[in-house]
Symmetry: C2
Amino acid sequence: MRPVDIVGIGQLPVQKETDWNLRQMGAQVVRLALANAGLHTAGALYLGNMLSDDIQGQKHVAALIADEACLSGIEALQIRAAMASGAAALHTAYLAVASGAVDTAIAAGVEIMGQDGGSSNLAKALDAEREVPYGLNMLTQNALVMRDYLDCQQVPAEALALFAVNAHENARNNPNALFRERQFTVEEALHSRLIAPPIRLLDCSPICDGAAAVVLASADTLRKHRRRVRVLASSVATDRFRLADRADPLALHGAFLSAQRAYQQAGIGPEDVDLFEAHDAFTIMACLSLEAAGFAARGQGWRLAASGDICIGGRIPLSTMGGLKARGHPIGATALYQASEIFLQLNGEAGPNQVPGAGIGLMQSIGGVATTVITHILARNGSRRWF
Amino acid sequence: MRPVDIVGIGQLPVQKETDWNLRQMGAQVVRLALANAGLHTAGALYLGNMLSDDIQGQKHVAALIADEACLSGIEALQIRAAMASGAAALHTAYLAVASGAVDTAIAAGVEIMGQDGGSSNLAKALDAEREVPYGLNMLTQNALVMRDYLDCQQVPAEALALFAVNAHENARNNPNALFRERQFTVEEALHSRLIAPPIRLLDCSPICDGAAAVVLASADTLRKHRRRVRVLASSVATDRFRLADRADPLALHGAFLSAQRAYQQAGIGPEDVDLFEAHDAFTIMACLSLEAAGFAARGQGWRLAASGDICIGGRIPLSTMGGLKARGHPIGATALYQASEIFLQLNGEAGPNQVPGAGIGLMQSIGGVATTVITHILARNGSRRWF
């Protein structure tokens, strides 16, 4: 496989409800990423989106956005894995460049989640025949996992709330984050509205709109362009589809498999990772992802939050620009925000939230209740892992 | 790029309305294709499907079908380009194997189109803001193109009907075709029910259910497996999204671009192609595809039907196993039927419909009104193009 780099990024500010439409947001972020890379076009466009069928009545979004961005003619495909669709687009762009089929590719994500119905549309990531008709949705499933974890591990009440507090703290310095106004305390998180016990409002990422994109290029393309980040690994794994079929629902076996494959591809281990953009759609997922990706032993993920190790300056900074929790989680776009944020960190452009000496960042994206998990590992230009 | 071969296929008979559900059909066809390749698993699964969001309420179909096929753990993604989704899955599987990320991959397609609403869901391939609200759908758009063609080219009334007659003739010997019972005459086609003038019933492919899959492997994998077909080219192109924005709606510029890129990749020209599985969802599309892919001059595609050159034994056999028109067009599965049929042809296993000496087959798949067009060129094992 040819080495592949990220050479440009684009982000639109995440919003509660955008005035733009899907095509405008998608085209704008594609233009931003191309301009950021110093390009006018690319070899292909891969698009992440989850809800356009339902919310916009649109099933052909990649070609639509290519046309709106004045790129008609280009290869344009939509890639899906429920909430991990953005990372699936990034993975496909990686395959396209690594294969030699194209020298450059855009991975973009865009989502307008709509005023209502978000919840029932999101539940389509679950089993439409064996879960949804029995009242299960993303909230109930995550609540079940969180309840199990709290009971099994005898975790103090505030343990998971600290993930939310950290994310909101970090979002304050991210101009593209949805929640930039204020910090929350653990007490506020613990007394926020109960949504689906034990999940409270501050355990959840918000319904919101956004778009982000990155431009990939082979290592021998655009060689004068020094602002680049190497994709050391790109891996996808699945778990048993239904939570009920898993031997151990707290193990996130798909996240474990995906991380292991990525470490193997990159030739590194968790000890080499300097920051982690986890799929913290719910605080419990941030905690379990730390365990599945090898940053904490089983049942011990919460201790990294309690000890401050997930803060910037800590052992494994988490959600350094706010994460899904506070930057926001516009589904199909989320992983492209993650990739953009790691790009900034590894280039030393993360401002007040800069992780000192960040050389390697890991990002994970989850579809369903950790049914599909996609891991990318990125490395700084010139770091010792840059080969 | 590493050379990539198809080493196994699976097809379920196309049905008007299946008793199975999506997961069963998907898993069954994956198992069939793996068994046909002599494998128990593969490196990844890429799935084509267009309508599951609407018809089955399911947005996570690749992981669902991986689980049902006892492949959980595997990389599984859904790839979309409206009606060309199956070909998009095949293209992505090609990229994955060509890149070296995996040595084997399954490209599968499955579609259950539902009793009603097919038409409004299919219209989501068009522009939801600038076409659909004004009454446009796939039928009206194809009718517009057909009317233009008939008027511009002064084509005899029966010219396009011959594409339907040929497809139905060929479907009679395909055990997986929806329409196997009888032939139609040109007169019957010309007097079939008027659907959207000038489109008549026999100009249209049917609403139906089906699933098909192929297994890809790198050329140096499974070397003892001699029953294989080389993927000489896999290319995707887009046109301006809306018909109204195109300089020449009859040119199918996306199909032209896609074919040109494929010829360049394969190092061949249309004169080297022995059979063509076109996207004959409407007879006009079969005709225009012949022109766009270089088999006929502009405005002359219909003459290949009139002269019998599209029949088996003719210059460029078309829809040799019935095509979308008569084998059926279960959207996301269609391109995997095409690939399976060419696989049979190139291995000399096409029975009464065998194209004598078939060495190279070309297939094209269309999303929207030729907005996304995906071309694959396949070559026989041991043919002079096998390098």
